[in-house]
């Protein structure tokens, strides 16, 4: 469905925000993961046709969307990270505005989407007065106006309360059953239960792309659990890759990333997705250090 071929985006002479990324994506939820500045937003802006790659191709069903952006725009829903609303415009008017821009003429579609995101009771209210979560829900409603084949959402759950976060994930999962949903985030818990694939970015490069299960599978026998005395914690944390530390009456229980038994008494633990990704990152760093 969506193919990225050697996509590069440079700023100035030296900054490679996206560095030779190639990726094939089909229907389903894809999690784009990376720390701040990894190049996720730039990559998504290029897929959304609002920024052009310095080189490389992005193809949607074989059509180069860099050359023919409308091929993507007619099938795209986009919710950027810093999405705001116009002052003095009601939620309904806001939706009508974007419906016009997307060529959506069915008023029932707007009503349906406002119901879907649970804003139908607030349709006549000024959107600027909405809470952060409500604005975000309005944002996803506008992104779904044209029933997009490709939905791109950047940091979708920023500012949402736990209930809204859950609702949002559920909604994206449902859409992902039929459409391609690209979710960019650095919060792993946002996508661990809905993403079929995870694309990991670091310093502009795509370092890995696999299913969440595969990441967890690969991290098995590399995550360990051990309880140590509280006074030993500082020494151990300086020597080992501590993923998590929880203090209790009997000492401190540590979860450690390590390719073999890190210390006496440590037992293998079932890694979470976040731990699996961290383990992989540590391993990559160690390999790089070794190579250097």
């Amino acid at each position: 469905m969506l193919e990225l071929r050697n996509v590069v985006k440079t700023y100035g002479k030296n900054v490679r925000a996206v560095d030779d990324v190639s990726l094939d994506l089909s229907a389903g939820v894809v999690g784009l993961i990376g720390h701040n500045g990894a190049g996720k937003t730039t990559l998504m802006q290029m897929i959304a046709t609002i920024a052009k790659p310095t080189s490389g191709h992005i193809l949607l069903d074989g059509v180069d969307i860099v050359k023919q952006p409308d091929a993507m725009r007619t099938r795209l829903g986009f919710l950027p990270q810093d999405f705001g609303v116009y002052p003095n415009l009601s939620a309904l008017e806001f939706m009508q505005y974007f419906a016009a821009l997307k060529g959506v003429r069915d008023p029932a579609r707007i009503r349906h989407l406002l119901e879907l995101v649970n804003l139908h009771d607030h349709a006549k209210r000024q959107a600027a007065g909405f809470s952060g979560g409500m604005k975000r829900r309005l944002g996803i409603a506008q992104a779904l106006l044209n029933d997009p084949d490709v939905l791109i959402v950047d940091e979708p759950t920023a500012g949402l309360d736990p209930e809204e976060r859950l609702r949002f994930r559920h909604l994206l999962s449902e859409i992902g059953l039929r459409k391609l949903v690209i979710v960019s985030t650095h919060i792993v818990s946002d996508i661990e239960n809905m993403a079929g694939r995870l694309a990991i970015m670091n310093q502009g490069r795509l370092v890995d792309c696999d299913t969440p299960d595969s990441f967890v599978q690969r991290a098995r026998s590399q995550v360990w659990s051990v309880t140590v005395a509280a006074q030993d914690y500082d020494t151990l944390s300086a020597q080992l890759r501590v993923l998590q530390a929880q203090r209790h009456a009997g000492g401190v229980t540590l979860r450690i990333a390590h390719p073999s038994v890190p210390l006496a008494g440590a037992v293998p633990a079932e890694p979470t997705l976040e731990e699996a990704l961290m383990t992989q990152r540590y391993a990559a760093r160690d390999n790089a250090a070794l190579a250097a």
Binding site: Q45, A48, T49, I50, D70, F78, G84, Y86, L89, A100
Partner: protein
């Protein structure tokens, strides 16, 4: 397929237009503009019972017929509407960039041409809406002070032919200045002021120096040249004043005939209207379409402009301000806060620091006769700077941070006023001291004018949440004041030497009143009302 596309485009245009009008009409700044427009309209039409007139020809009053009122009011509106309308309508794309909506707009299938056309039509509809309010006010005034029946067709014809080209020009320039990143910021605001002044000059030149048709009239977007030409033709005179002047009560009132518009004059206006569309072409070609490569969120706030570029080059000069931050930290209360704001203003505008140093030198070495000119330059630079002091926090989303500091919003507002005054003193100190010695009234005018303008900048910024409302009125005021150098009421800061004790006291009281109004609004905001 084409029919479907056209149908979709026309539907999109309709909603785009509607949204633009809604967004702009619901802004508090529009309410302020409408009130200002109504007040200006009332001031335009002087009471004939008090021997006041809108058009005076060789000392004789021109009777308030539909023709006179339509021509006079269109000419006067043409003078300022192109400037005020520009600043009122401008900034929508910056708003899109700031809010993140720009990225969504860019990702829609809507063609850039359709999008820009929608924005342009929105600009036109908004400006026409303001003119309709103006027309309604004029009709009410005609009922009260008019000297003949209301002839609506004359009003519509005159406003249509005079003001529509101006509306087209303003709307097109708004679009161009919003579509091309280098013109999006404050540098664009200032550049437009000079363009507007130039087109006024072209119109006036064409009217004064031509006895026959002059192609320069095509560039007379404000219509001033066309009106002066027609009134002169109908009532030949050696001294024509539009906008009020000395009336010789012993002379009988003159009658401006109806049907002044010749085919040639009307077609010239149509030509002007068409020429006013020309900026749309570069706007389309240069449109950034919210590409992050061309327009950043930062640029949406401060603007990538020649001024920003200059500030970038002069950034090392900002180090000179560092001690001021230290001093601000040591001074308690509102004084320290005002000093910190002053330091912030100078550190973020190093060009202002250089200008202050230059003005300091000029103020010391210039001859006494040149001090007025130094103050004009200082006031111009100062006004541009203070226009953003009261809106900076809102535009950079740190309004809440300020409200949470000791003293809250109210103290922050007062500190902004004080910082504006300190900035004025920095720009004008040598001249102020010299005037205190040789022309105390001018020194007093300078002080009271600074107080009043600083208060106006704070209040208008607080109400409209944009720097442009104050900037438009300020630049227009400066322009008018430099053209009418002997009018005491216009000599706000004493640069013409025409201020009187009465105007000084008047501006002092106005300043205090505006400041108190602003403080009251901020205290209401602080109380969550």
């Amino acid at each position: 397929m084409t029919a479907v596309r056209l149908s979709l485009d026309s539907e999109a245009l309709k909603v785009l237009l509607l949204t633009e009008v809604r967004l702009r009409m619901r802004r508090p700044g529009t309410l302020v503009a409408v009130l200002a427009l109504i007040v200006l309209t009332w001031l335009m039409v002087g009471d004939p019972a008090r021997n006041q007139a809108m058009i005076v020809s060789d000392g004789a009053r021109v009777a308030y017929t539909s023709s006179c009122l339509a021509m006079g009011s269109a000419a006067l509106t043409g003078l300022f509407f192109g400037l005020a309308g520009f600043y009122l309508a401008r900034g929508r794309m910056g708003e899109d960039v700031r809010s993140g909506i720009g990225a969504v707009l860019a990702a829609t299938p809507s063609a850039s041409g359709v999008f820009l056309l929608g924005r342009w039509l929105g600009n036109v509809a908004y400006l026409c809406g303001l003119l309709l309010i103006f027309l309604a006010t004029m009709l009410v005034l005609h009922l009260l002070r008019g000297e003949g029946p209301i002839q609506l067709t004359i009003y519509l014809q005159t406003y249509g032919l005079v003001l529509l080209p101006l509306v087209f020009f303003t709307a097109s320039m708004v679009l161009l200045f919003d579509a091309w990143p280098p013109l999006m910021g404050k540098g664009g605001d200032v550049l437009y002021f000079f363009l507007w002044t130039a087109q006024l000059g072209v119109g006036a030149t064409a009217a004064i120096h031509s006895t026959s048709w002059n192609p320069l009239l095509l560039l007379d977007f404000s219509g001033i040249g066309a009106i002066v030409g027609m009134v002169q033709q109908a009532l030949p005179s050696d001294g024509l004043v539009i906008g009020g002047g000395d009336v010789n009560a012993s002379l009988a009132a003159l009658l401006l005939p109806d049907g002044l518009w010749s085919a040639q004059a009307a077609w010239t206006r149509v030509g002007s209207a068409l020429l006013a569309l020309l900026p749309l072409l570069p706007a389309l070609l240069l449109f950034h379409r919210f590409s992050p490569d061309r327009v950043k969120v930062r640029a949406g706030r401060s603007g990538w402009s020649p001024l920003a570029l200059l500030n970038g080059w002069l950034l090392p000069c900002a180090r000179l301000v560092q001690p001021l931050f230290g001093l601000a930290a040591r001074v308690p209360g509102i004084g320290g806060r005002a000093l910190a704001l002053l330091a912030l203003t100078l550190a973020t505008n190093p060009a202002a620091l250089v200008a202050a140093l230059a003005l300091l030198v000029l103020g010391c070495v210039a001859g006494a006769a040149q001090l007025g000119a130094v103050i004009i330059a200082a006031t111009l630079a100062w006004g541009i700077l203070i226009s953003e002091i009261s809106v900076r926090d809102v535009q950079h989303d740190i309004d809440g941070l300020n409200a949470a500091t000791p003293g809250g919003r109210v103290q922050a507002y007062a500190a902004q006023w004080l910082a504006s005054i300190l900035l004025a003193l920095l720009f004008t100190a040598p001249v102020l001291l010299r005037w205190l010695a040789i022309a105390p009234l001018r020194a007093a005018a300078l002080l009271s004018g600074v107080l009043a303008l600083a208060a106006a900048a704070g209040l208008l910024g607080s109400l409209s949440r944009t720097a442009r409302l104050f900037l438009a009125l300020f630049l227009f005021g400066i322009y008018v004041a430099t053209q009418a150098r002997d009018v005491a009421g216009l000599d706000v800061v004493g640069f013409n030497g025409a201020a009187t004790v009465l105007t000084v006291v008047g501006y002092l009281l106005t300043g205090v009143l505006l400041f108190c109004g602003g403080m009251w609004i901020e205290s209401k905001r602080e109380a969550g009302k």
